[in-house]
């Protein structure tokens, strides 16, 4: 927890490793891209806090523009960190079904505009009774299942029933609908627009069914990194839940307008063979869900061969150009999972430290 904070203007070459770096030029590029994308649309960015877990980074997008001023949080404790960090509008994108956590939502609702995703009548009744008991008002956003068959209502009629309950019960207010989509592989623009439009349309259909039943829908919160540009073209969408776009990962490399902003700085600690170098970071810090390997940033024919708990084994087709003591940068395939394992971002520009951001919501699973 007490990782050393490097000083302002420390050159990257003098940083202790492994370290989680944020390239501030790349981050600002991504934030400015979103600001430009949404400058003329009804739709606005509601950045997902689960990817960056750090209020100052969320405030940076809000300052750059293109947002609706609030954020998403995956969990209640993550939402608490964001409210404490000065963000006043939160959508909790997971269902919260236990009474003690619902009480925490109610506490947040006293000081912020808090909404939570629901997909079950029993959950709305529980939220209502606890919130009414505390004299608070919690926003209800109905999650609509689209591509993932995860949480979310399966049929629009369920949405109507939930909207009716949320409208009639005390302590809660019906606010809108949300959905989250996924896409496989590295799709081209046409494929991701076609698929994204198909899935998001399911969320819009649920919205229309609810409105047709007499319940006005204020929020249509959907979209993610792969639909970030598509969503701006869909007039019914009011906000986009972009997450990965801020820091990026190799799993979203098909998004050509976005740049890799988060990288892991690591040092070669051993050169056991002519074609091999071993670095001081492994899967514990990098995250390798399902065994996925990181990429080496701009390093010619050097590739990641394997990951151990605390080491990364690099191979080269010819002689390894890296020697003991050399530093390299690795780019994660799973930015979200990786960031959750670190305590701070070291923001760098022009080869030196500009800012250190603690990852305050790291470990906020609750």
């Amino acid at each position: 927890m007490t990782t050393a904070r490097p000083l302002f203007h420390t050159p990257i070459s003098e940083l202790d490793t492994p370290a989680l770096l944020v390239d501030l030029d790349a981050l600002d590029h991504n934030f400015n891209y979103v600001a430009g994308l949404y400058s003329d649309s009804v739709c606005r960015m509601r950045q997902h806090a689960k990817n960056v877990k750090s209020p100052p980074i969320l405030h940076r997008q809000i300052a750059a523009g293109g947002t609706m001023g609030g954020v998403c949080a995956a969990k209640v404790s993550e939402a608490e960190v964001m409210v404490e960090g000065g963000i006043g509008d939160i959508l909790i994108t997971s269902q919260v079904v236990t009474p003690d956590k619902i009480a925490r939502i109610c506490a947040l609702a006293r000081v912020a505009d808090v909404k939570v995703a629901v997909d079950d009548v029993r959950n709305i009744r529980l939220l209502s009774s606890i919130s009414a008991e505390h004299g608070t008002d919690v926003g209800i956003v109905i999650e609509v299942n689209t591509s993932m068959d995860r949480a979310g209502i399966r049929r629009p009629e369920q949405g109507i029933e939930l909207a009716r309950l949320a409208t009639n019960l005390p302590g809660v207010t019906f606010r809108g609908v949300m959905s989250h989509q996924s896409i496989l592989g590295l799709p081209d623009r046409e494929t991701r627009f076609r698929e994204g439009r198909h899935w998001i349309q399911m969320c819009i259909e649920a919205k229309q069914a609810i409105e047709d039943a007499g319940f006005p829908v204020e929020i249509v919160s959907t979209g993610e990194t792969y639909t970030i540009d598509l969503a701006a073209e869909m007039p019914e969408v009011t906000e986009v839940q972009g997450g990965t776009y801020a820091l990026m990962g190799t799993n979203c490399d098909y998004m050509e307008d976005l740049r890799h902003a988060v990288k892991v700085l690591t040092t070669v600690v051993s050169s056991p063979d002519a074609d091999t170098a071993v670095c001081d970071v492994g899967y514990r810090a990098l995250a390798a869900p399902g065994g996925v390997l990181p990429a080496v940033d701009g390093a010619g024919d050097v590739r990641v061969e394997s990951l151990g708990p605390d080491h990364c084994v690099l191979k080269s087709d010819g002689d390894m150009p890296l020697s003991v003591g050399d530093q390299i940068l690795l780019i994660s395939a799973q930015q979200d999972i990786m960031v959750n394992r670190w305590d701070q971002f070291v923001g760098v520009r022009d080869g030196a430290v500009e800012v250190v951001w603690p990852i305050l919501a790291r470990g906020c699973h609750h």
Partner: protein, 365 residues
């Protein structure tokens, strides 16, 4: 930092705020007693590898069980944390080359009995220079590269480097040999204990025949702890995951129980035979494999996203799991799972007995 709803001591396990990392003390004590007894019976010593749980309270349970020679960690930062929690004989079973890390090693060596790994002459010279400057005494052990294909030296190069260490006496001393850390994901079941330890045995023979018998010959693994401990030439077993256990370990060592489990809550139930749990990849770590389900027969977790885990029922099985139900998961890899928690809920007889800090979590540097 993890922010659970803190519950009073005595709270029933299933009322803990989820997802929670819960450790059954009776099972931990049983695992520790089993392994420490068998290692001692084999005439060997145990050096608990504390990065398997990153938790000082559990490390003390291991040391108190007896038969240990000290403890082992994977990073300089972990050594610093555990030294602050009273551990005074620490092996950093890794190599460190950056000047800032070498300075920290030399400084820590003034306060505890410290041993660090090395695999190059340059690194040994750097350690020697730093310890002279700090006025410290440091043990240096050679990391022997076996089948793991990570860092380390070959047996042929070991005697030269052992001499190199002794050149820096009295600040450096040749502490022995240890099996280099793995560069692979999870347990490599295709490699036998014999194959793994071949390089170590050869290096020991080569050092001994050059009149530098290694004081320590340490090899790792909870997965084959008895086989390793029974080797005549292995002086210490370096093992960690035996204390808390995990799904991968129980599969090969059934006598070691999965003492650490994750309590989760069903947050969504839309389809027949499928529920979604409030623990996903961020609360379990699936780098080496998926968790097992405990207590719901015919159930498994085939898929996890960042914040959600799906539990599905095999054909023909039935359950009464519904919204709000509690489900226990057994992590596939305990070391990787504790690293995403700040607290361990220690329970006995199904009730909360203590909250322990995962004090060395995230100390990668």
């Amino acid at each position: 930092m993890e922010r659970p709803v803190f519950k009073p001591i005595g709270t029933p396990s299933e009322e803990l705020d989820t997802p929670a990392l819960v450790v059954d003390l009776e099972a931990v004590e049983s695992n520790i007693a089993t392994v420490h007894r068998r290692v001692q019976d084999a005439g060997s010593k145990l050096r608990p590898k504390l990065d398997a749980h990153l938790c000082p309270a559990i490390g003390h349970l291991q040391v108190r069980a007896g038969g240990t020679s000290g403890v082992a960690v994977a990073t300089v930062g972990q050594a610093e944390v555990f030294s602050q929690h009273g551990f005074d004989d620490i092996l950093i079973a890794n190599v460190a080359v950056a000047p800032s890390k070498i300075a920290r090693i030399a400084s820590l060596a003034k306060r505890v009995r410290l041993t660090v790994g090395a695999d190059s002459a340059r690194n040994i010279d750097d350690l020697g220079e730093a310890t002279v400057g700090a006025g410290a005494q440091l043990g240096v052990a050679l990391a022997i590269r076996g089948s793991a294909d990570c860092l380390g030296v070959s047996p042929d190069d070991a005697p030269e480097l052992a001499y190199k260490i002794e050149e820096h006496a009295p600040n450096l001393s040749f502490a022995g040999l240890f099996e280099a850390p793995s560069g692979k994901l999870g347990l490599d079941s295709a490699v036998t204990t014999d194959e793994r330890l071949e390089a170590l045995s050869e290096a020991e023979f080569k050092c001994a025949s050059r009149r530098l018998p290694p004081p320590m010959v340490a090899a790792g693994g909870s997965a084959d702890y008895e086989e390793v401990a029974s080797r005549q030439n292995v002086t210490e077993l370096i093992a960690g995951s035996y204390a808390l256990g995990d799904a991968a370990l129980s599969a090969v060592k059934p006598e070691l129980r999965s003492a650490a489990r994750i309590l989760t809550t069903v947050m969504s139930h839309q389809d027949h035979g499928v529920v979604w749990l409030d623990a996903g990849q961020k609360a379990t770590s699936i780098d080496t494999g998926m968790p097992d389900v405990e207590g719901v027969s015919g159930a498994k977790v085939p898929r996890m996203s960042a914040e959600h885990g799906s539990m599905v029922l095999e054909d023909g099985a039935t359950w009464d799991v519904d919204l709000g139900s509690k489900v226990w998961l057994i992590p596939h890899n305990i070391a990787n799972t504790v690293n995403v928690y700040d607290f361990i809920h220690a329970v006995r007889d199904g009730r909360l007995e203590a909250m322990w800090e995962v004090a060395a979590r995230g100390r990668y540097q």
